[in-house]
Amino acid sequence: MITKKEVQHIAKLAKLHLTDAEVEKFTGQLGSILDFFAQLQEVKTDHTEETSQVTGLENVTRLDQVNVYTEEDSLLDCSPHKIENHSIKVPKIF
């Protein structure tokens, strides 16, 4: 079971601001979803490796060469913030 306090905590970690009504709703829904996950505990996996990808590829490399991209300005234009010196200006962090 997950508590409202836990939901508020993970929301904070995920930078989601939830209303009280949302906390209420998600606590119930997450509770039943987490209960549903519990059935995995009945599977024996002591000697099973984890699968994090299925391609079998490892250490994919390419030539370290510079490709010219000419649309930095359009990339910066995607931002809703002020652009100064080819940078996005955000409020100070500290």
Binding site: H17, Q29, I33, F36, V43, S52, P80, P91
Partner: protein, 479 residues
């Protein structure tokens, strides 16, 4: 001539034979869209001016005998997660409602280089998270066969657009069933490729170890034509192996006699409709009639696929969605502090299902729960993959239902997320294993005449084989 109900292969042929111009074909589809899309809501963005321009360019290439590919001049649509340079790409989310990408996804670049015509960007569940397009910020896509029902999801805009004769083909994405299930609901053919077969570069991600990009069209032959153009290694997507792209259109011509087709007992559980069972049975009979051998098999970890997927996918989602912080994309509001930018952008920009998955993922990856959830799920993923590895030692392909029922009513599952997750019960295991599969229409339900499809799964990088089986079945049904 009735243009819009023709297959992509037929249209391509008529265009090359100079019986139809690309402009005529394009205008015919635009006419259909203008007449019927108000009701169905397949599109987030329509690009008719561009489409006419591209069609005219194609017609002049034909005039000069300079056609580039079999797809030249063919009008298609793209799911609105495929980034298109200069054309708004929203992922059906408010957070990206004004996003105009300054680059092209590889899949779109390849299609453009092949000379296709773009009619527009199709609706999806928000960031592809859903099984009905009901989580789209721009409204649900209705099923062309019954507008009170969903088109399925997440690629529901694409499958409904193909079913409604709005385009000759479409590009969708399939992470847990998002091409196969809506294809089944809408009565069209959709291919989930092997993980890594088609470049994901420039396609807005959901769960990066599972996402695939693939074709949706009227027939398997049409899907083969599109796949031929979009498959292959891409320097920009490090998960695309250097695997040869075979000639799919040649491969689908081979007979299926001698092939061994497995039927896994775990896919015929309580709760699936009798109609769905019967449709799979008729596919079995057709395949036997074509000389294939039916073999009963077992995929013992099938029942764990949904919980495994709904741990792994949200974990990857919570990481992928972190980029939507209101700095590089976002609402345009200028909040005072950096923390306010983060939280207010995400609060107003993201819908409930996205938030729910971010919360599940953040929880399952957090200290103290990582082993019990994420690591455990990754281990069970191995067992699910091994089930398929063992099965493919005995059989060439696997035949299953696509989903337990035909298209459900709009609103049926919206208040119960877990019930919506169970919609993916027959498609998810193949996604976890990274193998390929196709969903093709096979019959209709007795009540309501709703389309019902079947799923044919094949080993990794054997798209040619599942396309071939589907094509041979479709040839048999037609004649």
């Amino acid at each position: 001539m009735d243009i819009v109900n023709k297959t992509l292969a037929e249209l391509s042929h008529l265009f090359r034979e100079k019986k139809l111009s690309s402009r005529e074909i394009t205008d015919a589809f635009i006419h259909e869209i203008e007449k019927h899309d108000k009701k169905l809501n397949c599109f987030v963005t329509k690009t008719f001016d561009l489409a006419r321009e591209m069609a005219d360019a194609s017609d002049s290439r034909r005039k000069n005998n300079k056609l580039i590919s079999p797809l030249d001049g063919m009008p298609i649509t793209l799911k609105d997660v495929v980034c298109t340079h200069g054309i708004r790409t929203t992922a059906s989310s408010n957070i990206l409602k004004d996003f105009v990408p300054p680059y092209n996804a590889t899949v779109w670049k390849k299609l453009q280089d092949a000379g296709v015509v773009l009619l527009g960007k199709t609706n999806t569940d928000e960031f592809t998270m859903g099984a009905s397009t009901e989580t789209s910020a721009f409204g649900v896509t209705r099923n062309p066969h019954d507008p009170t029902r969903v088109a399925g999801g997440s690629s529901g805009g694409s499958t409904a657009a193909v079913a409604a004769n709005f385009c000759a083909g479409s590009i969708g994405t399939d992470t847990g069933g998002s091409i196969r299930q809506p294809a089944h609901f809408c009565g069209v053919t959709g291919l989930k490729v092997t993980y890594g077969r088609v470049s994901r570069w420039g396609t807005i991600p959901m769960a990066s170890s599972l996402d695939t990009v693939g074709p949706i069209a009227k027939t398997a032959e049409d899907c083969a034509m599109i796949l031929q153009t979009i498959a292959g290694k891409d320097e920009l997507d490090a998960t695309t192996p250097d695997q040869k792209v075979p000639n799919y259109l040649d491969e689908i011509k081979s007979k299926v006699s001698g092939l061994r087709i497995g039927i896994p007992k775990e896919y015929f559980i309580d709760g699936i409709d009798d109609d769905v069972r019967e449709v799979v049975n008729s596919a079995k009979e057709i395949l036997q009639g074509l000389g294939a051998e039916i073999v009963n098999i077992s995929l013992p970890h099938t029942k764990y696929a949904v919980p495994t997927y709904y741990i792994i996918a949200p974990c990857e989602i919570s990481a992928n969605m972190a980029r939507f912080d209101g700095i590089r994309f976002g609402s345009g509001k200028h909040e005072k502090t950096i923390e306010e930018i983060y939280t207010q952008t995400r609060e107003s920009g993201l819908g409930d299902e996205v938030k729910r998955r971010i919360l599940i993922g953040t929880y399952a990856l957090s200290a103290g729960y990582y082993d019990a959830f994420y690591r455990k799920a990754q281990k069970v993923r191995t067992l699910i993959k091994q089930d398929f590895d063992k099965a493919f030692e005995k059989v060439d392909a696997i035949l299953t239902p696509v989903a337990p029922t035909p298209a459900f009513k709009i609103g049926k599952n919206t208040t119960d997320p877990l019930r919506m997750y169970l919609e993916d019960i027959f498609t998810i295991a193949a996604s976890l294993a990274g193998i390929c599969g196709i969903s093709l229409p096979m019959g209709k339900s007795e009540v309501g005449e709703l389309p019902i499809g079947i799923q044919i799964l094949g080993p990794a990088f054997h798209e040619g084989r599942v396309l071939r089986i589907a094509h041979q079945i479709q040839k048999t049904i037609q004649t």
